[in-house]
């Protein structure tokens, strides 16, 4: 297959097919690398499988996905890790790099056999969903994992401050009467992890930064030479706590850490621009309908977003707040350097930065239809994904296989999923169910 006339580079030949594809107006970039997603297998195959998650990833432009170990059983032994790799080799269309647990059963008590897990293919370690509450255990995890060159990823949440919490603590949670989740609950554990990394000289990676305070903490630690990296999700970059109110308790807006405020979004964008934040990671968290079709406080946390991630972040490009090249970097070389990966030379994504599409969960490749963006119009679309030299997603020649989208006429002015300064949004949700 020959890709011709892409906006940014020479023609590129892929695989053996003789097809010639005219890429006028499109941009060819390396395959995206996701440091943080949930493929749910083994144990929660009703939410997602490695196969469906990989298809969703391909549709979102991701050719490498690092999947979290909060499966059942937890990925805390080489056997379970090998199972994930075996299923992935048979069924996944993209590269799957499992993250193993820091502690057995993610219980925060004793370390997993990290050396064995690393040798078996664990790309990093995390008790994702649970913070490592015990500071001594966290210290030992950092030191031990770093002795064979693996990074520890922490989910930063002081659980004493988030008991029963359902959304960001602020004016909106007070109005809605939902138990609030203070920003301090994140900042406190980020500060602790930075202190431990500084004391031990070991590397730490902070998952899904969501507060202005933790961006500042990471930035100043980096300036002091602390070996820290950090990621941010598309939803924390584009949605605020007001979405919970707008959606009148729409459980699809419930996520951990919670959607914060426009002030936090400003700080997160700033963090991407000045390098405090290294990567954009999806934290794709698919759930079954029954996990969300309940009272807000009982609903599961998480958003299924690997298919919308690129377009969501493109909203910030179209709003003039992030350069396109920086977004690509934070989806490719940025995440690779966090986990010490090589950017694969035969993975490519062809994107149309300007194409508009309407999110339709009915045609998601993911089993998780839990997104507050259903019906929203986004601008920026993945057209073709190539992994290991093979086409794994193709909306150019097979539009019907499109990534959860249907083209629509869009009225001007064009909406974009970016919070504006005064808590207003240019993304309209008129087509909410």
């Amino acid at each position: 297959m020959l890709l011709k006339n892409a906006r940014n580079r020479d023609d590129l030949s892929i695989g053996d097919s003789k097809d010639i594809i005219d890429c006028r107006g499109l941009v060819l970039v390396p395959g995206f690398v996701d440091l943080h997603c949930h493929l749910r297998e083994p144990g929660f195959e009703h939410k997602e499988t490695i196969a469906t998650g990989a298809r969703a990833a391909a549709a979102g432009g991701f050719t490498t996905v690092c999947c979290m170990p909060n499966t059942d059983p937890v990925i805390d032994t080489a056997g379970t890790l090998q199972y994930v790799l075996d299923v992935a080799r048979r069924e996944a269309s993209v590269r799957v790099r499992p993250i193993a647990a820091i502690s057995r059963g993610r219980a925060g008590k004793e370390l997993t056999d990290m050396a064995e897990l690393a040798a078996a293919g664990a790309v990093a370690f995390s008790d994702d969903g649970n913070p490592v509450a015990n500071s001594a255990l966290m210290r030992h995890a950092l030191e031990y994992a770093n002795s064979f060159d693996r990074v520890v990823v922490d989910h930063c949440e002081d659980i004493a401050l988030t008991k029963g919490a359902a959304m960001h603590e602020g004016a909106v949670s007070e109005r809605l009467g939902l138990p609030g989740w203070p920003a301090a609950a994140e900042d406190i554990i980020v500060a602790r992890d930075l202190a431990l990394a500084e004391a031990t000289g070991a590397r730490v990676h902070i998952a899904h930064l969501s507060t202005a305070g933790s961006v500042d903490l990471v930035r100043s630690a980096k300036r002091r030479g602390v070996r820290v990296t950090a990621e941010v999700t598309p939803h924390h970059l584009t949605l605020t706590d007001e979405w919970v109110e707008r959606g009148t308790y729409d459980a699809n807006c419930k996520v951990n850490p919670p959607l914060r405020t426009s002030r936090d979004i400003e700080a997160l964008v700033e963090g991407l621009l000045d390098g405090a934040i290294d990567a954009i990671a999806t934290d794709h968290t698919p759930h079954a309908l029954v996990d969300k079709a309940v009272e807000f406080e009982q609903a599961a946390f998480g958003i299924s977003n690997i298919e919308t991630a690129f377009a969501q972040v493109m909203g910030l490009v179209h709003a003039g707040r992030l350069p396109f090249d920086l977004v690509v970097e934070k989806l490719t070389s940025g995440p690779c350097s966090v986990f010490g990966l090589e950017l694969p030379a035969d993975d490519w994504v062809l994107v149309d930065p300007d194409a508009e599409w309407t999110v339709d969960v009915e045609v998601f490749h993911s089993r998780g239809r839990n997104t507050p963006l259903h019906g929203a119009t986004l601008r920026g679309r993945v057209m073709l994904t190539v992994c290991r030299g093979q086409v794994v997603f193709d909306a150019l020649r097979e539009p019907a296989s499109g990534a959860g989208c249907a083209e629509v006429e869009v009225p001007s002015p064009r909406p974009s999923p970016v919070a504006t300064g005064e808590g207003g949004f240019r993304l309209h949700l008129s087509e909410r169910p």
Partner: protein, 327 residues
């Protein structure tokens, strides 16, 4: 039965958010989405309902042939009975349904339960639930009128409306009233709904208590926080203490009930410094000797019993306005 719906003098109407509803209201979920006119209409309708309640046979046909389901996921005495009496006074068929714990513990989801009730013929679902937004979830998914009878710490609109009704009946106005809500405002749906209702009607609300019990991030025009009860109590038209639960002390939000009473209890000594015509209200149930002294609760300025009896008229008004046939 005749229902008077004329508006009162404009001095009663708040200026903020006072747009008349564009279409008939389907649900009563939160006073935050009631305009001053909407609130006025409920209060005036309740006045008409008082006339029905004064009759020897307290029956009106407004909801004849309609099925009202009391769907209580949390225990309740006055609210549940009050809604039941109100619906029966309007000739509705009333079904009481109480679930012990949460919907998930019970095995059936809230949405499925609501759909089941509608399939059985429910026209109105009155729901009490321990979680904020539960009534909204039901309203979104079931084809019946929904009245929120309390959802977590979020809202309890019929209680706030009966409080407004009681104040208006006793003092003659709402605009300009100074109302102190004292105690565990943070966990109180009654307080939240009263804040919305009172400020919309032009009253001033002072939320009083230690910062651990106040929703310190809440910002609404006409509302402010105060920690020192003694500094304001002499200036209030209405003082409304809220129930203090023992768990608040156990959870570390207050050091002890003794210390709470010393600083924020409505004691006889504090009441002695209230204005002569000022009222004491309490949404119930009370903890006599903690947030309110027993003698204060039965003193002449206490209107706690009228709150309960006015509750029936308010709930008749809500039911009638949401589901009543024109008469």
């Amino acid at each position: 039965m005749s229902v008077r719906l004329e508006t009162r003098g404009n001095s009663e109407l708040g200026t903020q958010n006072s747009k008349p509803a564009a279409q008939p209201r389907k649900h009563c979920l939160d006073l935050n989405d009631y305009s001053a006119e909407d609130i006025q209409q409920v209060l005036d309708t309740a006045e008409a309902m008082q006339e029905v309640l004064a009759r020897p046979v307290k029956k009106a046909p407004g909801l004849r042939g309609k099925m009202v389901v009391n769907c209580f996921y949390e225990s309740s005495t006055r609210t549940r009975v009050s809604f039941e009496v109100a619906a029966k006074n309007l000739s509705a068929d009333v079904v009481n349904f109480s679930a012990g714990g949460s919907s998930v513990e019970k095995g059936e989801s809230l949405i499925d339960t609501a759909k089941t009730l509608v399939a059985l013929g429910a026209n109105v679902i009155i729901i009490r639930h321990s979680m904020a937004g539960a009534a909204h979830v039901v309203a979104r998914n079931a084809g019946a009128a929904v009245i929120n009878a309390g959802d977590g710490r979020h809202a309890h609109p019929s209680q706030a409306l009966l409080d407004l009704y009681t104040m208006r009946a006793r003092i003659g106005r709402l605009r300009g009233l100074k109302v102190a809500i004292v105690g565990d405002v943070l966990h109180s749906r009654v307080a939240r709904s009263n804040v919305h209702g009172l400020t919309r009607m032009g009253a001033e609300v002072i939320l009083c208590g230690p910062a651990t019990l106040l929703p310190v991030n809440l910002q609404l025009p006409g509302m402010r926080f105060e920690h020192n009860l003694d500094a304001i109590i002499g200036d209030m038209d209405v003082v409304m203490p809220l129930r203090i639960q023992k768990e608040r002390a156990e959870g570390g939000l207050i050091p002890s009930l003794r210390e709470y009473r010393a600083n924020w209890g409505i004691t006889a000594q504090r009441v002695a410094r209230m204005r002569g015509d000022a009222l004491i209200m309490h949404p119930g149930p009370m903890n006599p000797g903690v947030e309110i002294d027993p003698e204060v609760a039965v003193s002449p300025r206490s209107v706690i019993e009228s709150q309960v009896s006015n509750g029936v008229a308010i709930r008749m008004a809500l039911l009638y306005l949401l589901a009543g046939a024109p008469m």
